[in-house]
Amino acid sequence: MDKEASSKSWAPWGTALIFLAMWGLLAWSGVFPSSAFPAPWTVVKGLIEEASTGRLATDMVASLFRVGTGFTLAILLGVPAGLWLGTRVRARSALLPMVNFFRSLSPLAWIPFAILWFGIGDAPAIFLIFMTTFFPMVLTAVAAVANVPSIYLKVGYDHGFGQREMFRQIILPAVAPQLITALRVTAGLAWVIVVAAEMIVGRDGLGFAIWDARNGLRMDLLVSGMIVIGAIGTLLDLLLHRLARHPGVRWAYER
């Protein structure tokens, strides 16, 4: 059992190592020109270069700040909106098609307006992150509330719960696991979108760094940017995954 667990924790590193070796071998063989296919060691050099000038840190902070702000806003507004819509049949039928409409739009379609309304920098990127994550958050919350098993509501009724208690002690804990899953999915989405947004509306950030590297034909920096983006995305998911281990929500993942 212990052996299995330790092999599990090492397995992803092993996969990464094999991938790295194949990449290095391919670069070393010279099948592709080095200008179009940077080797791992040049990428590492590029990464060190970016880190030593402090640009890597600035870009990471800029991107994380935009995702953090836009995503937090989307949660703060989207979850209550969704919970409210989930309990109000009429409001739901009036508003849900509109929410679905906006959710179907690629957030990148908003880029022209983002620039027009907010210019360049943090604000347009935050706006785009918000547009990406708000609507899925609302829809998940609506569905989660609608799917609360009626038996839990009956138990609340049996124990004389008022409306407030019903919401805080039954509905909220019942939907929490689904909200956490939605958080993981939309956080990933936000991270994908911030890179695309910064390519166009950014003056810094990891997306802008990639775009800048492409303009300067520095494929090594481009790949190092990609690696950082992928690593942060994976870390974010790991972090949010920890939420699912909270004893108050574990039941939903254990059945």
């Binding site: 009956k154 124990h159 004389g160 804990p173």
Partner: protein, 255 residues
Amino acid sequence: MSAKTIDAHIESHVFGDIEVLRDIRFDVSHNEIVAVVGPSGCGKTTLLNLLSGALTPTRGHVAREGPTRTVYQQDGLLPWLTVADNINLGLRHISDSREKLAVLETALAMIGMETFRDHYPYQLSGGMRQRAELARSLVSPAPILLMDEPFSALDYMTRVRMRQELARLLHDMPRTVVLVTHDIEEAAQLADRIVLLSRRPTTVLDQFTVRVARPRHVTQPEVVATVARLLALLNLDSPSAPDAADGRRIPLTAS
């Protein structure tokens, strides 16, 4: 056995354009245990919901002396709460935390689950979950216990054990009980009175009193005789019984 704890006459209860219940007179005396037996889908759960007040009959009235607690077939425990917190739901009437703890501990001891107080329902077996739910209902001040096939999700041996335990608990802490079941042994072992329901529109086909002191054991000759009598009433006592599942064939013998 003078005043009725439950006094109901459901002239008619309709879902959409389907009449589920028709002309059901249902009286239960103080601390009487009434088992309701009938074919599946005959509206037994609807009857319980009407008795608890979760539903109001389309025509008729339900009067009950005090609130009810329902024990469900499964999933009646709130999955995000530990065993202790689930039982505490039934102790909401006690404001003194010391007293609350004392009652909780007695309840845990009564069901033999002292060591499982901090476990979540998903960490328990089906029998333990039902035991915890029973405890939650029995610690509450509600004088009426409604049980909706409480042991039908359990395997046979656990079910027999749980029936014995319930018989003991109800002997120590008498309640007015309406037990909906299609387990004939369960009805024969536990009930003071057995009510047989027909198919939809459901009505009372027959009822009789079991004049044997409680708590009883399932192997007691009187209990075995009651099982035989019930099987005969349900046309399940001979191998050639025509379409025994069809409640309409139940003969209307006087008790």
